[in-house]
């Protein structure tokens, strides 16, 4: 790296810039957390830090079927979609980065097109198709579009990771008598695991985040995910302001994201940047 300026003045400058970024990024999150801990009486006082702290909002949402069911749906749907998308994506990315076959460029092109595809264009036709096939308002009805839109992300990120793997090892394994399939399972898969794991995180975040499909292709608690349930919250009774409950639910579904970011910051950054540029 070019000469790093470590004078105190430079440190202060960078420190200030860092601080701006941290504040910019965290204020909205801290605000919704603050709201979730406020009591009903202080909810509308406009204070950034709660004057009275309470866990009532959390207790309340975990007592409602509406939220608990949505949380189960969210977790289940996101996990299943992630597993399927990563498995299919790994297979395809391996083929793209390793094998020579006609149609490869086409597949890369198709995934790129889907990465750019306007999802709302699918809402009306999928609504009708799923209504006719009984997929409407089921887990599978959401998992299908999630896999579809997660696949380009998975294929790109994984191909980028796979390109960095020392493939001579595979050749060595094949020389020792392993088939291509065995070489893949026994030699390459363990090396590829970190990339696969990173991709899984990115795909999970994508599925966890979705709102458009979830609100269009569901109609009951059976398959509604949390982001959608949030927007339908009415509070304990119809006359109660749902702000506290919404905030608490919002914080609950932010927890996994914060954990991912805290523990896997490096991986996420590597995954997003490698997939984007080296494509």
């Amino acid at each position: 790296m070019a000469a790093i300026d470590t004078r105190p003045a430079a440190k202060v400058k960078w420190g200030l810039l860092d601080l701006i970024v941290v504040v910019f990024a965290l204020v909205p999150v801290l605000w919704i957390m603050s709201l979730s801990f406020k009591t009903t009486a202080t909810l509308t006082d406009g204070n950034f830090i709660p004057r009275d702290w309470t866990f009532d909002n959390y207790k309340l949402i975990f007592q409602t079927d509406q939220f608990v069911r949505a949380l189960i749906n969210s977790i289940g749907i996101a996990l299943i979609s992630t597993v399927i998308a990563v498995v299919l994506g790994t297979m395809a990315a391996y083929a793209i980065s390793r094998l020579d076959f006609p149609g490869k460029t086409l597949l890369v092109g198709v995934s790129l097109l889907i990465a750019m595809f306007p999802q709302v264009s699918l809402v009306t036709p999928l609504f009708n198709i799923e209504r006719n096939t009984g997929l409407f308002d089921t887990w599978a009805g959401l998992i299908l579009p999630y896999i579809t839109f997660a696949l380009p992300l998975a294929i790109y990120t994984l191909s980028a990771f796979f390109k960095q793997i020392p493939w001579d090892l595979e050749k060595a394994a094949k020389m020792d008598g392993a088939t291509q399939g065995e070489a893949f399972r026994k030699v390459i898969a363990p090396l590829a695991a970190p990339g696969v794991f990173t991709t899984a995180i990115l795909v999970f975040i994508f599925c966890w985040n979705d709102f458009l499909f979830a609100i269009s292709l569901t109609s009951t608690e059976r398959s509604r995910t949390v982001p959608v349930a949030l927007s339908f919250f009415t509070g304990a009774s119809q006359f109660e302001d749902p702000t506290g409950a919404i905030s608490a639910a919002a914080v609950v579904i932010t927890i996994p994201i914060i954990l991912f970011v805290l523990f896997f910051q490096r991986r996420i950054v590597a995954g997003l940047t490698s997939g984007a540029v080296k494509g």
């Binding site: 391996y94 793209i96 927007s231």
Partner: protein, 314 residues
């Protein structure tokens, strides 16, 4: 660096095989197809089929409230949508949000990328913080902004707009929607740009600096040209993503005061109107809009666009 490495390895791996045989080659092809088939089938089945189906539906009068009146009516739905003020208002709103947010994000994202890339203290902390907006559920962030701008409840509403409710007026609503978009997606833009920054050779910067180039000159003459492909990728992805804007609008204004995007009206038309013919027409129009914009990007920037093979990516 990786690209060249990869090319060497593929070269080495492919050459001898070609000379050797056709049987192994055929097996390789078969395995390639087998491995790609599931992904390809899912992707095509869930996008290509519905969009074609959507085109078919768009040529029909098809209202779920009056299913018996379903009939083929040619391009009438297109005339209906394109001569409708709502469509064009939503189209304008979508374009405004896209252009303004992507432009601001490019500038802020570049700043953030520079900070994340070059900061000498707290790099991990900055990167971790920046990933939070990227990872957070858009609806959650949108609620945070909504309450922040709700008079009485919100710290921002009370501090900035003590009189009136910003989310009940068109201009301020749009500004808040754009703000929410920028907050959420600047980190993504920054990460893509940071990948480009990493490609800038330090020697080059050092040389430029020795030749007396100012920071700005180094930025515009050395860094930007090297980063151009990364910038274009980031712009393309963010532009197409911004055109989809839905979650923020749904939560912040629910389309009140003419703040609906095309995604919003397509959704509302389906859920409230239950009119599949018109809804499908909008689907096709949105699809075409995105296709045209993507096409222009790729044509203008040619090989620098993503998806071109490694060899094109110089």
């Amino acid at each position: 660096m990786t690209a060249t490495q990869v090319r060497h390895t593929t070269h080495a791996a492919v050459k001898p095989k070609k000379a050797a045989l056709s049987e192994g080659k055929r097996a390789e092809r078969k395995l390639g197809w087998l491995l790609c088939a599931p992904a390809a089938i899912v992707m095509v089945a869930v996008t290509a089929y519905p969009i074609l189906y959507s085109f078919w539906l768009s040529l029909q009068r098809y209202d779920l409230k009056f299913p018996d009146e379903r009939e083929f009516i040619g391009l009438t739905n297109y005339v209906t949508v394109l001569s409708d003020g709502y469509w064009w208002t939503a189209f304008g709103v979508t374009m405004l949000i896209t252009v303004v947010s992507v432009a601001v994000e490019l500038v802020l994202g570049m700043g953030l990328a520079l900070i994340m890339h070059r900061t000498i203290i707290g790099r991990g902390l900055v990167r971790t913080s920046a990933l939070i907006p990227y990872g957070i559920v858009t609806v959650v962030a949108a609620f945070s902004w909504r309450y922040a701008w709700t008079p009485g409840t919100g710290y921002l509403a009370n501090a900035v707009a003590s009189d009136g409710a910003p989310l009940t007026e068109r201009a301020s609503s749009l500004a808040i929607i754009i703000l929410a978009e920028i907050w959420k997606t600047t980190p993504f833009m920054a990460l893509l740009l940071m990948a480009g920054l990493a490609l800038v050779p330090d020697d080059l910067l050092k040389a430029a600096s020795m030749d007396g180039a100012t920071w700005w000159q180094r930025f515009t003459k050395v860094m930007l040209p090297v980063m151009k492909p990364a910038i274009l990728v980031a712009l393309l992805f963010r532009t197409l993503d911004a055109l989809r804007v839905f979650d923020n609008i749904y939560v912040l204004t629910n389309g009140a005061n003419e703040t609906s995007s095309v995604s919003m009206i397509a959704y509302n038309n389906l859920m409230k109107g239950l009119n599949l013919g018109i809804g499908s027409t909008m689907s096709v129009l949105i699809f075409l809009t995105v296709a045209i914009i993507a096409f222009i990007f790729v044509k203008l920037f040619g090989t620098a666009a993503p998806g071109s093979s490694d060899d094109g990516r110089r």
